[in-house]
Symmetry: C2
Subunit: 154 residues, 2 copies
């Protein structure tokens, strides 16, 4: 009962070529630019459906915008996002997970789930006089996403 429409396929296809997180609108624009004819609402509906189905990774930016990205790694992981260019690095931090869970339990909490996003300036933007603590808005879409892809380990 999950049909395979041209639009849905196109969305997945587009996502499969994006290394970093993109907003629904950016994805939509991208598709139009690539010659696809898709409605924005459809993009939203599909991104939502796909993420619900666990096929996409969703990251809520500091300003509340939802960013999507193809989910290669089903496992639990977090992101290191550059405030300047939006490039991301995934990382696992089992130790953090453990401590967090422990702390939560200590306070009587159960069924815990957490959100951990780290924002900073990636290597190539370190020097830039960026003083903003919660921006990362403008950047994204453009050219130079450094596309860091590997994985860390705590």
């Amino acid at each position: 009962m999950q049909r395979n429409t041209r639009q849905r396929t196109a969305i997945l296809e587009t996502l499969s070529r994006q290394a970093d997180f993109r907003s629904a609108q950016q994805i939509h624009e991208q598709m139009r630019a690539d010659g696809e004819t898709v409605g924005l609402a459809t993009v939203y509906r599909n991104l939502q459906a796909l993420s619900r189905a666990g096929r996409l990774d969703v990251l809520v930016a500091a300003d509340g915008e939802s960013l999507y990205r193809q989910c290669e790694d089903t496992g639990h992981h977090h992101h290191l996002v550059c405030r300047e260019c939006g490039s991301t690095v995934e990382f696992l931090a089992p130790r953090l997970e453990a401590s967090m869970t422990a702390i939560a339990r200590e306070h009587g909490f159960t069924d815990v789930d957490h959100t951990l996003e780290v924002f900073g300036l990636c290597a190539k933007h370190s020097g830039s006089g960026a003083k903003k603590t919660r921006a990362a808005k403008d950047s994204g879409a453009a050219e130079d996403s450094s596309t860091a892809e590997e994985d860390a380990r705590a």
Copy 2:
């Protein structure tokens, strides 16, 4: 150049009595309920100004809504938020901070900042049949301000 108006004072005063995070709208409602006459825009403007000035703690909910709370502890800390009742517990986790920073540095990131929020079910709501992994919207602390007076705290 930060004047001391009735509204601004009232906002701070109201916040000083709230243990948990509240949305701008909830704060506004609360104030009206308390007999204060304040415009919603003013509440937004002040919450923004105050948080920019470091006097308020801001937490962005999973759906993008901004929640504010008086900042008693200037130090860096995180929150444990109950999905059911919205009660919060603050916690410090120096070890996590350290690891996070280390990981970021390993990837060449500088000027890092992070967001870590833990959602779960507090002690008194543990049994509740809450299966939703990222809802917390419909439940507790939302709309009906009339009865939202008493608050939990783990």
